[in-house]
Symmetry: C2
Subunit: 336 residues, 2 copies
Amino acid sequence: MKRVSLSDIAKAAGVSKTTGSMVLNGRARENGISDATCERVWKIAKELKYKPNLMARGLRLGKTHTLGLIVADISNDFFAQIARTVEETATRYGYHVIFCNSDENAEKLTELIQTLKTRQVDGLIISPALHDYDNEISRLKREKFPFVLIDRYFSKINTNYVVVNNFEASFQATSLLLDRGYNRIGIIAVFSNSIQHKLRVDGYREALKQNGIRFLRKLVVEVSYGNLKESIINAIRKLLDCPNNVRAIYFLNNRVAVIGLECINEMNLRIPKDIDVLSFDDNEVFRLFDPPITAVAQPVHEIAEKAVSILIDEIERPKKISETRQIVLPAKLIKR
Amino acid sequence: MKRVSLSDIAKAAGVSKTTGSMVLNGRARENGISDATCERVWKIAKELKYKPNLMARGLRLGKTHTLGLIVADISNDFFAQIARTVEETATRYGYHVIFCNSDENAEKLTELIQTLKTRQVDGLIISPALHDYDNEISRLKREKFPFVLIDRYFSKINTNYVVVNNFEASFQATSLLLDRGYNRIGIIAVFSNSIQHKLRVDGYREALKQNGIRFLRKLVVEVSYGNLKESIINAIRKLLDCPNNVRAIYFLNNRVAVIGLECINEMNLRIPKDIDVLSFDDNEVFRLFDPPITAVAQPVHEIAEKAVSILIDEIERPKKISETRQIVLPAKLIKR
DNA sequence: TATGCAAGCTAAATGGGTTTACTCATATTT
DNA sequence: AAATATGAGTAAACCCATTTAGCTTGCATA
């Protein structure tokens, strides 16, 4: 029941391993192997159901045809969808995908990157942890290891990335709320030092500014991942209460939005009577709410597809040194 | 910048590769390597940041320390959560996970199983496609390839599997609806020849029976994956309409439930006034609905954890021939 | 006749670990 | 004193596909 190896094929076909390898890799022509031999090898390979041992090949070639995908949490709808398309696209290119969850934890991320490198993945698609300082990522960069960041990136390192136009999308989202007549809009976000976070807040500020409304720092509440629910309840309470007097909340991501909605529910607040909400990042079920939740939808499929194709391009093309690709896709405001 | 290999370590430490290998694999004691040598090797390995080449090791040992996970669609909340825990658990055991989407397509599933085997994963966790006949799975079984089925299984093949008690859970779910006073309950499900499907319907029948209500085949509507939305709208319309006169719908899974809710929304029906609903498979947001949606929640974490540990046990233990493990976990009815 | 060359193919090295079957001292038994 | 053990370690085989460098043989040209 043991696997058929190239030697077996070679022996059975009465040729050398070299010839066998060449034929089965479609290099027969260029190496002047005769058609007769060629056919013989193929026939035997088929009969014996030969499948090359990818580890042997990988060892020799130094390539595994495997990509690593690191996200905060694959059970989060946004990342699950990314993962879906990453896998699909990678498969089209003949690659497989190993995935890992970083839990928004910089140390875990560092560790994951290292193990995946040890495991010899050919490249990485990474959504860096929120608090990550750039160390491990910039090490990858220094080592010229192929990788693409998605969703988030670092201004200080020149890397490949695929993100959305956070500023613009946030500007539009805020403008919509302003149009609806809210001029005191609270933001609830997970604490983060990332650029996207900043850009989303900046977009919000710009929208306020263009409407002649003053930006108030205290309306931007940053909660921490630890006990999201409790902190969000407090945040909402604080925003609604008197001097703030907020009537619309802008959740800066998916996760916060879903939990935020849960809190609003529990606090017996009605949307939009008591409070209106908007979420950056869409969720399949937002449109099913009563009323449906307006959200900024990221083009997940494009993000994933682009990331994979850039990555594989970098893996397979001879490296044109430090020529990075930085894609900013438009996010779409879905009014509901 | 090239990787440090075992030879490098051996050379630097003035020992043979053999000794190096033994030391670094913790086999120093049993092979009578002196403590001095041991320390020297470790020290050098650390200094040079030695990471073994896992492909070389894998090639020799015939093991990759990789598991394959095949689900219908990883962007489906249920599978995303499974994937999450599978990865976590596998990592604890020192394994990585390659995932693939079968799209409920038997041919694709067959192909995936084959590629993953070629890729030398050590074992597979599979949620078989709905319409799959058992061929590829039983081939795995014949070949004694380690695998565990989750969520679904085949009565005709004796395999490892981890599933929930579909009959019992469905019985309880139906009983709840009956208690709420609905005695004409419609079922909407994706067409399937799987046992779980049957068991869920059987549980429903049994509940009706114990309440002295006749089972009506026409109240069980099977839609196909093609154009779910349209078919569900038709199904709902048909069920509500006159002779049927259904006032409660029992969605037989997650996917159908979410889309079903969307349809109900679009049809401007109110829950529970016009129609009440219940879903087999929970979804994070069901409790946020107004009113919240009652659902049967599968213990996803346990399913995934159990599946991984059974699989790894099978991979690592000397095979006690054809001794399969079949786990049936209780699903929990979450009344909302 | 000797030389060049193309066609068709192969031996052996390579990649980096693990494992088997030794070696070589010295120490202990019998 | 000869035989056996033991401690410490190693050379070489092995896993399997790819690739480099080169080897025949036949035919044509100088």
